[in-house]
C-alpha cells in the first residue's frame, strides 16, 4: 500500500484517525475519512486517471467538483457497478474499488491512443466527410467507431438497489449551502417560513469549507447550528438540484446511502432519493465555475484549475504538486499560489495582465516569482506535466520567446462563470457582464432570485448582504417577516483588480489543435476555428458540429470559453453569438431514482377483480387487458388452449357458462339531462328509454368513426348506468367530461366511474334461467323480465342488479353486486350451478361466442376508420336527431357506399383458421406487392359450428357476398381462400336470446 506522500502534515477537514483502504486500477491505496476519491488519489501522487473520449489522451484530475470532465471512473464491479462517475464527487469509503474507463488494456498503456497520432486526420466533424465509400461499408466502420466511443460500461446484472421519490413543499427553496445560501436560509428561516436548503456536499458551507479555522468557520458553524434548530427548516445535504421546471417545480437527487458503498449501506434505506420540490420562492446560490485557458497541452495530467488546487490544499490537506506554475488572468489564482508557497512549494505565477496590481506584490512578498504580461504557451511531459514554456505577450497578442520552467503542477484560472444553469433552465434570460467576462442572471421567468457568486457578486461582505436581503424578500413574498440583521462576515481578501479576458494563447494552427476547450470531448481551439470557417457559426451548430459541451460535464468548463473564442473569430461580442440552451439535468440523474418505486409490480398497478383468486384456484390463464388481469381460458388437466376454449364455448351454447365481466367500464350518470347527453353521445335515441330497460349504443368520434359501444340502462328517472369496453373505460369517462365541461356546461349531469364498485358475473346459456331461479327472488319469466331489461333483487342473498342482456347470443343474465360480495356471488353460482353443468369461461371463449353471433369488438373489428354503416349497423343510427360524428358521416368519402365493410368469411377448408390480421386480396400475385382490399379482424375455430369462422373488413364487402377471396400468409403458411358471407353464423333470428 502506497504512502500518502502528497498529504500535508496538518489542516484540512479529513479525519486522520480513520484511514480507509481503496483500490484504483487494481492497486491498493490509503486515504482518510473526509476524502473524495480524487483527493485520495492526489494524496498518493496519482494524477493519470483517465483517457479522453476521442484521442485517448492521458488525462488527470482537473477540478474538485461537479464540473470535472476528466476524472471519470467505473465505480465498483458486478451488479453494483456504475460508469462515468466523477472521482471528484465520490466520497471515499473503506474498500472502494474503481477503475479508469475508456482505456485498453489500461490507462497507462492505452492502445486507442493511436487516435492521438492520427489526430490531424480527425478534426471536428471528420466523420461527416468520410466513411462514405463503399456504401455498404458504413455499418462496418460504424461498429469500430461505436466500440471506440462510449465511456464506461453498463453493469451486467439487474440493479440490486432500491430508490425512492418524495414530494416536498416549501415557501422558500435555497439551492446551494455556501456562504450565500446559508445567509439566505437564515434570513428566510428566521421569519418562520418553511425553508428547504439543498447542498450537494456532505457538509454545509461551500467555499467556507476551504478555511478550516478562522472567522468564516466560526460563522459557518453557528449558522448551521441555528438552521438545525429551526423547526420549519429542512437541510438536505448530499443532494443536487438537477432540474428547474415550470411553476417552481424542481427535482433534486439525494444520496441516502450511495456514499457508503454497497457493503456499508443499510438494507432498509434506499440508495438514492429523488426529491420533487414545489417551492413558493426559489433562491439560487449555486456559486461559480472556474475556467481553463487554452494553451498547447493544457490537458496534461498535472494541469489543474487554480481554485481546485486551493480546495485540495485547504479542504483535503493535499498538495497536488511541489513545484507549481500558476497561469492566470485574474486575482483569484494568487490565493492557492500563496497557500502552496506557505506550505513550502516552489511557486511561480504567469499573469497575462501587464499590471496585476496589489495581489502580485503580496505574492512576491512570500517568495513567489510573478511574471506579469506572461502566458504559459505549452506544457511538456508524458502522462504528467514536467515543465512549461512561458513567454511574454505583446499588446497586439504577439508571443515573445518562450523559456522553460520546470514544474510538476500547473494551476490555471481563466476567470469564473457563474453557475446560471438552473436559472436558465427556469426560463430566465442571461445578461453578459463584460467587466468579468461572464454571463450573469438577467430577467427571471419565475419567482427566482439569484445571490452570491452565481449572481456574479464578488467579495464576501457584499455577497452576505445580498443573500440576506434575498432571503428576507423571498420570505416576505411568501407572507413572512422578521429576518433580523444581515450577518457581517468580513473577508480577509482585499478588493480584486479587474480581470483581463483571455481565452487561449495566440498560436499557429498546428498548436491550436492541442489547445483544449472541451477536455472530455477533445474539442480544441482549432476545432472551434474549423467550425467557424466551415459555416457552423451559430452556437448550436458549433456545439453539434464539434461536440463542444456535449460531454457528461455538459460544458460547465468549456462552454463560455468556446463561445468567447467563436465571438472573437467572428469579430463580435459574446452576447451576440449567444449561448446554447441550458438543459436539465444540472448533473447526470440516475435512472433508478427517476423510476423510484414504479418498477416491478408497481410499474403499473395490476387491477384484479374480486373473483381473481377463485379464477386462479380454477387454474385460469390470465391475459392483460389494459391494466386488468382477465381470465383468458380455464384449462383442465391435459387441455391446451384450443381444447379449453372449445369446451367452454360448447358449455355456453348447451348448458350454462359463467364469465367475470367486472372489468367492463361502468359509469354512473345522474341528473335530469342524462337523456339529452346520451342522445348527443350515442348514435341512437334515448329519451324514451323507460326505467327498468336497457339499450345498446354506439359512440362515434367527431370524425364519424366508432370509438366505443356498450349497454346503458335506466336505473331511475334521473339515474343511468353506462357500460363501456374494458380498455376504454377511463377514456370514455374523460370523453363525457370533456363535452360536459367544455361544450355543454348547461347539461345537468354528474358522471362517475363505478367500475370497481360492482363485481359482475355473467351467466349465459340455455340453463341460465334455471340456475338463476334457484338463487334469486326475482321473477325471471320472459314477460316479467324480458330481454334488454334489468331488475333489482337478491342473488344468493346478496343485493343485486340483474341485467338481462347478452354478448354471447344466449339467454344471459349479468349480475352486478357490490364488489366485496363478488367472490361470494361467484362461489354460490358455481356451487348451485354444478348440477346444471356450469362452466367458467374466459375472454377467448367470449370472443368466439360473440363472433358466432357477428357482434363486434370495438378496437378489434374497428380501428378508428370504421363507421356504423361500415359495420352494417345502420339500424342504430338515428336520422332524426343530431349526435357526435353525424355531420362527418355525410362527408364525401364517409358516405361512399363501397367503403370497407364488415362481412363474414368462411374458409374453403372448414378446419383452416384464417390468421387474424391476415390481409385479403382479390387477385393473387406471384410475389408482393399486391393490392389488398381488406383484412381479417376476428377469426376463430367455432366448436359449436364444427368449422372456422371469421369477420373481415373488405372493400365493398356487402356487394361481394358469395365471392371467393384470398388470404396470403407472407410470414409462412399457405395462401387460404374464403367465401364472403353475412356476419351472423349462429341463430340469426335470435330465438336463443329472446327465449
Amino acid at each position: 500500500m502506497s504512502r500518502q506522500s502528497f498529504r500535508l502534515e496538518g489542516g484540512g477537514r479529513i479525519d486522520r484517525a480513520r484511514a480507509l483502504g481503496f483500490t484504483f486500477n487494481g492497486k491498493r491505496y490509503q486515504g482518510y475519512a473526509g476524502d473524495t476519491l480524487a483527493s485520495a488519489l492526489l494524496a498518493n501522487g496519482v494524477h493519470l486517471v483517465g483517457r479522453s473520449f476521442k484521442y485517448h489522451r492521458p488525462r488527470g484530475i482537473l477540478t474538485a467538483g461537479v464540473e470535472e470532465p476528466n476524472a471519470l471512473v467505473q465505480l465498483e464491479t458486478g451488479a453494483h457497478s456504475q460508469p462515468n462517475i466523477r472521482a471528484t464527487q465520490i466520497e471515499l469509503y473503506d474498500g472502494l474499488t474503481a477503475t479508469s474507463i475508456n482505456a485498453w488494456p489500461n490507462v497507462k498503456w492505452d492502445l486507442m491512443a493511436v487516435n492521438n497520432r492520427l489526430g490531424r486526420l480527425l478534426p471536428a466533424g471528420f466523420y461527416y466527410k468520410t466513411f462514405m465509400w463503399p456504401r455498404s461499408w458504413w455499418m462496418t466502420y460504424e461498429k469500430a467507431i461505436r466500440r471506440a466511443a462510449g465511456l464506461g460500461r453498463a453493469p451486467e446484472a439487474a440493479d440490486p438497489d432500491r430508490y425512492e421519490r418524495q414530494n416536498i413543499h416549501c415557501d422558500v427553496l435555497v439551492v446551494g449551502g455556501g456562504p450565500a445560501g446559508l445567509a439566505t436560509a437564515l434570513a428566510a428561516g428566521r421569519t418562520g417560513a418553511r425553508v428547504v436548503l439543498v447542498d450537494q456536499l456532505p457538509e454545509l458551507g461551500g467555499s467556507l469549507l476551504d478555511e478550516s479555522a478562522g472567522t468564516g468557520e466560526a460563522w459557518r458553524q453557528s449558522a448551521v447550528a441555528e438552521l438545525a434548530a429551526m423547526d420549519e427548516v429542512t437541510c438536505l445535504t448530499r443532494t443536487v438540484v438537477t432540474g428547474y421546471f415550470d411553476h417552481n417545480f424542481l427535482i433534486a437527487c439525494e444520496s441516502v446511502t450511495d456514499h457508503l458503498g454497497h457493503t456499508g449501506a443499510q438494507p432498509h434505506l434506499p440508495r438514492l432519493k429523488l426529491w420533487r420540490i414545489r417551492a413558493g420562492q426559489v433562491v439560487l446560490a449555486t456559486g461559480a465555475f472556474e475556467r481553463a485557458i487554452g494553451f498547447k497541452g493544457n490537458d496534461l495530467p498535472g494541469v489543474m484549475l487554480a481554485g481546485a488546487i486551493g480546495t485540495y490544499h485547504a479542504r483535503y490537506a493535499v498538495t497536488p504538486g511541489r513545484e507549481a506554475v500558476f497561469f492566470t488572468n485574474n486575482d483569484t489564482a494568487y490565493a492557492p499560489a500563496m497557500a502552496m508557497a506557505a506550505g513550502g512549494a516552489r511557486v511561480k505565477v504567469a499573469d497575462v495582465r501587464t499590471e496585476p496590481g496589489a495581489v502580485a506584490d503580496r505574492a512576491r512578498a512570500v517568495g513567489i516569482e510573478v511574471l506579469p504580461g506572461h502566458a504559459v504557451v505549452s506544457a511538456a511531459g508524458h502522462r504528467k506535466v514536467r515543465g512549461v514554456m512561458v513567454a511574454s505577450l505583446g499588446a497586439e497578442g504577439q508571443v515573445g520567446d518562450p523559456r522553460y520552467l520546470r514544474c510538476d503542477l500547473v494551476g490555471m484560472s481563466g476567470g469564473w462563470s457563474p453557475a446560471v444553469h438552473l436559472f436558465s433552465q427556469s426560463g430566465g434570460k442571461l445578461a453578459w457582464r463584460a467587466a468579468d467576462a461572464c454571463f450573469i442572471p438577467g430577467v427571471p421567468a419565475q419567482t427566482t432570485r439569484v445571490v452570491g457568486r452565481a449572481n456574479g457578486t464578488i467579495g464576501l461582505s457584499a455577497l452576505m448582504a445580498e443573500a440576506h436581503a434575498a432571503g428576507a424578500d423571498a420570505a416576505k413574498d411568501a407572507g413572512f417577516s422578521g429576518s433580523g440583521d444581515a450577518p457581517t462576515l468580513e473577508s480577509d481578501q482585499p478588493e480584486q483588480a479587474p480581470l483581463q479576458p483571455f481565452w487561449s494563447v495566440p498560436a499557429k494552427p498546428k498548436s491550436e489543435r492541442k489547445h483544449f476547450v472541451d477536455f472530455q470531448n477533445d474539442v480544441t481551439v482549432g476545432d472551434v476555428r474549423l467550425a467557424n470557417r466551415e459555416g457552423y457559426r451559430s452556437v448550436e451548430h458549433l456545439k453539434r458540429y464539434t461536440t463542444l459541451g456535449m460531454g457528461t460535464d455538459q460544458g460547465k468548463l468549456g462552454n463560455v470559453p468556446g463561445l468567447a473564442l467563436l465571438a472573437e473569430m467572428q469579430g463580435v461580442t459574446v452576447p451576440e453569438v449567444g449561448t446554447t440552451t441550458f438543459r436539465a439535468p444540472f448533473t447526470p440523474l440516475n435512472f433508478g431514482a427517476m423510476a423510484g418505486r414504479d418498477v416491478g409490480e408497481f410499474m403499473d398497478p395490476a387491477r384484479r377483480t374480486p373473483m381473481h383468486d377463485l379464477h386462479d384456484e380454477a387454474g385460469a390463464v390470465f391475459e392483460d387487458v389494459g391494466q386488468w388481469k382477465r381470465p383468458f381460458y380455464y384449462p383442465q388437466p391435459g387441455e391446451g388452449k384450443d381444447e379449453a376454449v372449445n369446451r367452454e364455448c360448447r358449455a355456453v351454447r348447451n348448458a350454462v357458462g359463467m364469465l367475470d365481466a367486472t372489468t367492463l367500464g361502468k359509469i354512473d350518470l345522474q341528473g335530469p339531462d342524462v337523456p339529452a347527453l346520451l342522445n348527443r353521445i350515442y348514435t341512437n335515441a334515448w329519451s324514451k328509454l323507460e326505467v327498468g330497460r336497457s339499450r345498446y349504443g354506439l359512440m362515434l368520434g367527431e370524425d364519424g368513426m366508432v370509438i366505443d359501444d356498450g349497454v346503458t340502462s335506466r336505473l331511475g328517472e334521473n339515474h343511468f348506468l353506462m357500460t363501456t369496453t374494458t380498455g376504454n373505460a377511463a377514456r370514455i369517462l374523460g370523453w363525457l367530461e370533456e363535452w360536459l365541461q367544455t361544450e355543454w356546461p348547461e347539461l345537468k349531469v354528474y358522471a362517475n366511474s363505478v367500475t370497481e364498485q360492482y363485481a359482475v358475473a355473467v351467466i349465459a346459456g340455455p340453463k341460465a334461467r334455471d340456475l338463476l331461479g334457484e338463487v334469486t327472488d326475482l321473477d325471471l319469466s320472459a314477460d316479467e323480465f324480458p330481454f334488454m331489461s334489468w331488475r333489482e333483487g337478491t342473488v344468493a342473498g346478496i343485493p343485486a342488479r340483474v341485467f338481462r342482456i347478452s354478448f354471447s347470443g344466449e339467454l344471459s343474465y349479468e349480475i352486478n353486486v357490490p364488489a366485496n360480495h363478488g367472490a361470494a356471488l361467484w362461489g354460490a353460482l358455481m356451487e348451485t350451478g354444478e348440477k346444471h353443468g356450469i362452466t367458467p369461461y374466459g375472454t377467448e371463449a367470449m370472443h368466439v361466442l360473440r363472433a358466432e353471433k357477428g357482434y363486434i369488438i370495438v378496437g378489434q373489428d374497428t380501428d378508428g376508420t370504421v363507421t356504423p354503416l361500415d359495420l352494417g349497423m345502420d339500424w342504430i343510427v338515428s336520422k332524426n336527431k343530431d349526435f357526435l360524428g353525424k355531420r362527418s358521416l355525410t362527408r364525401e368519402d364517409t358516405a361512399r357506399t363501397d367503403r370497407k365493410q364488415l362481412v363474414g368469411l368462411l374458409t374453403d377448408d372448414p378446419q383452416a383458421v384464417l390468421p387474424e390480421g391476415g390481409q385479403v386480396v382479390e387477385e393473387l400475385q406471384d410475389r408482393p406487392p399486391m393490392t389488398m382490399i381488406g383484412h381479417v379482424t376476428s377469426s376463430y375455430y367455432s366448436a359449436n359450428l364444427g368449422r372456422s369462422i371469421a369477420l373481415a373488413l373488405i372493400k365493398d364487402g356487402r356487394q361481394r357476398m358469395g365471392d371467393t377471396l384470398h388470404i396470403p400468409q407472407p410470414l409462412g403458411g399457405p395462401t387460404l381462400s374464403a367465401t364472403v358471407t353475412e356476419t351472423v353464423f349462429i341463430d340469426p333470428d335470435g330465438s336463443r336470446l329472446n327465449g
Binding site: E142, G150, E534, N590, D624, T894
Partner: protein
C-alpha cells in the same frame, strides 16, 4: 470541395485551414422563383430536390433561427417504413429508399445505420395488431418480420423477456432496414448540397407575413424586408397553424411538446432500435454511446420547447423494466420539441386555398424518418403545382372529404 478520405488527408497537411464553407450565408435577393419557409430537414430537402429534380435553382430557404434547429435537431433519429396503410407505406418507403443512398447523393455522411427497428408486443391485442401490420407491410413489398421472445432475446441480449414482467414481451416485429441516422448531418448535408446548386440559405430571418394578391401568393414579408416569390412552400413544424393563420386559413393541427433524453455515453450494449407501444417508450444507442430515449407527447398543447418531468419519469420506469441494467445509468440531458399533430396522425403535403402557396406539416412524432421523401414530394408539388401521386392522399382537403389515413396505431406510441 468534395468530401472524401483524400480531401481530409490533403487538408490535414494544412491543419484544416483551407476547408471552404459548407454553405454560403448570402443576403436575401429581392425576388426568387421559390421561397421555402423553414430551414429544417424537410425545407432544405425540398430546396435540394427542387434544384436537383426540377432544375429550379433560384430558390431561397428562409429560417427564423439556425438550420436544423427545430425538430430536425431534437428527434430520436429513428428511420423506418413499417407503416400499415398503403399511402403511408408508399411515402415512408420512398423516404427510406432515398435515405439508403443519401450520404453518397449529398456527399455528406449522414451515418445511416440500418441496424433494425423492433416493435414490441406486450399483450394479445398487440400481437394481433402486429400480425395485421406485418402482413400488410409484406404484401406492400416492404421488409418486416415477426420475432418470438427467444429470437428477441438473441437480438437484444440485455432485454428482459421474463414472463413475470408486468407487461411481458410476447413478440415483436422487426424491420431490418430500419435504423437511425445522424439528424444534424441530414440538415447540413441537404444545406450544403442545395447551396452547391445555387440555393440561397438565409438564417436568422423570420417570415412575418405573406404577400398575397388576388388569391395568389407573391412572396413573404420578413425581418430582413419583403422577398418576392413566384411560389412559397411553408414547412415549419411546430408553427404550421400559426403560419397558416397568417395566410388566412386554418390548419387542422394541434401542437404538443414531445420530449427526448439521452444517458451518459457507455460502451455498446444495444445494437438495434427498440420501441414499445404498450409501455410508451423507445430507445436506441447512438454511435457516441448515449442511450437515446423517447416517449409519447405531453398531453397538453404548447409552443414551449420543454416538457413536464412526470412524462419522462413514467417512461424511465418502463425502460428500466425492459432493460434492468439501465437502472444504474444516468440521464445526461433532456429536451423538448413541438410537434404538429393531425387528427388522423398523418401529415399534410398540399396545395392550399391560396394559389402558389403550399404547406408541408403535421408530421407529428414521425417527421425525421420522412425527411427525404417529404422534401422530394413537396418539391414535386411546388414545381408542378400539383401533388405527386405519392403525396396526393396527404392533401388538406381530406379533412373535409373524410379520406383520412388513420395511423394512430402506427406511431411508436399512442398519440
Amino acid at each position: 470541395m468534395r468530401y472524401s478520405i483524400f480531401s481530409l488527408a490533403r487538408n490535414a497537411l494544412s491543419y484544416h485551414e483551407k476547408w471552404p464553407e459548407a454553405w454560403r450565408s448570402p443576403a436575401p435577393k429581392p425576388a426568387y422563383d421559390v421561397v421555402i419557409v423553414g430551414g429544417g430537414g424537410h425545407g432544405l430537402a425540398t430546396a435540394y430536390y427542387l434544384a436537383k429534380e426540377h432544375g429550379i435553382t433560384n430558390v431561397a430557404v428562409i429560417e427564423k433561427g439556425w438550420l436544423g434547429g427545430g425538430n430536425t435537431g431534437r428527434n430520436t433519429t429513428i428511420i423506418r417504413s413499417n407503416y400499415l396503410w398503403d399511402e403511408s407505406a408508399a411515402i415512408y418507403e420512398k423516404s427510406l429508399k432515398l435515405y439508403e443512398g443519401l450520404s453518397q447523393d449529398l456527399n455528406y455522411n449522414i451515418m445511416l445505420s440500418q441496424r433494425g427497428v423492433l416493435n414490441l408486443a406486450h399483450n394479445e391485442h398487440d400481437l394481433k395488431e402486429l400480425s395485421r401490420r406485418v402482413n400488410a407491410i409484406r404484401l406492400n413489398g416492404i421488409d418486416s418480420e415477426i420475432l418470438t421472445p427467444t429470437e428477441i432475446k438473441k437480438l437484444v441480449p440485455i432485454i428482459n423477456v421474463s414472463p413475470d414482467l408486468r407487461y411481458p414481451i410476447l413478440g415483436a416485429s422487426l424491420q431490418r432496414r430500419g435504423g437511425v441516422a445522424r439528424h444534424d448531418a441530414v440538415a447540413w448535408g441537404y444545406a450544403r448540397a442545395a447551396d452547391a446548386h445555387g440555393v440561397d440559405i438565409i438564417q436568422n430571418c423570420e417570415v412575418t407575413d405573406f404577400l398575397v394578391e388576388d388569391g395568389q401568393v407573391q412572396g413573404v414579408e420578413t425581418t430582413q424586408g419583403a422577398i418576392r416569390a413566384g411560389k412559397v412552400g411553408v414547412v415549419v413544424a411546430g408553427h404550421a397553424s400559426v403560419m397558416a393563420a397568417k395566410a388566412g386559413f386554418r390548419m387542422p393541427v394541434e401542437s404538443h411538446p414531445l420530449q427526448a433524453l439521452v444517458s451518459e455515453p457507455i460502451k455498446p450494449v444495444l445494437d438495434c432500435v427498440v420501441m414499445s407501444n404498450a409501455v410508451h417508450v423507445y430507445v436506441s444507442q447512438s454511435d457516441k454511446g448515449e442511450l437515446v430515449i423517447g416517449a409519447g407527447i405531453d398531453a397538453y398543447t404548447s409552443y414551449g420547447q420543454r416538457g413536464s418531468f412526470h412524462t419522462i419519469e413514467g417512461q424511465i420506469g418502463a425502460i428500466t423494466e425492459l432493460f434492468p441494467i439501465f437502472s444504474r445509468l444516468r440521464q445526461l440531458r433532456q429536451w423538448g420539441g413541438i410537434v404538429d399533430t393531425c387528427p388522423d396522425a398523418s401529415p399534410i403535403i398540399s396545395k392550399t386555398p391560396v394559389d402558389h402557396l403550399y404547406f408541408n406539416c403535421g408530421w407529428g412524432t414521425g417527421g425525421f424518418k420522412a425527411t427525404p421523401g417529404s422534401g422530394w414530394a413537396f418539391a414535386h408539388t411546388i414545381a408542378r403545382d400539383e401533388p405527386h401521386p405519392i403525396n396526393a392522399p396527404f392533401s388538406l382537403d381530406r379533412f373535409s372529404t373524410g379520406v383520412l389515413i388513420d395511423e394512430h396505431g402506427a406511431a411508436a406510441v399512442a398519440h
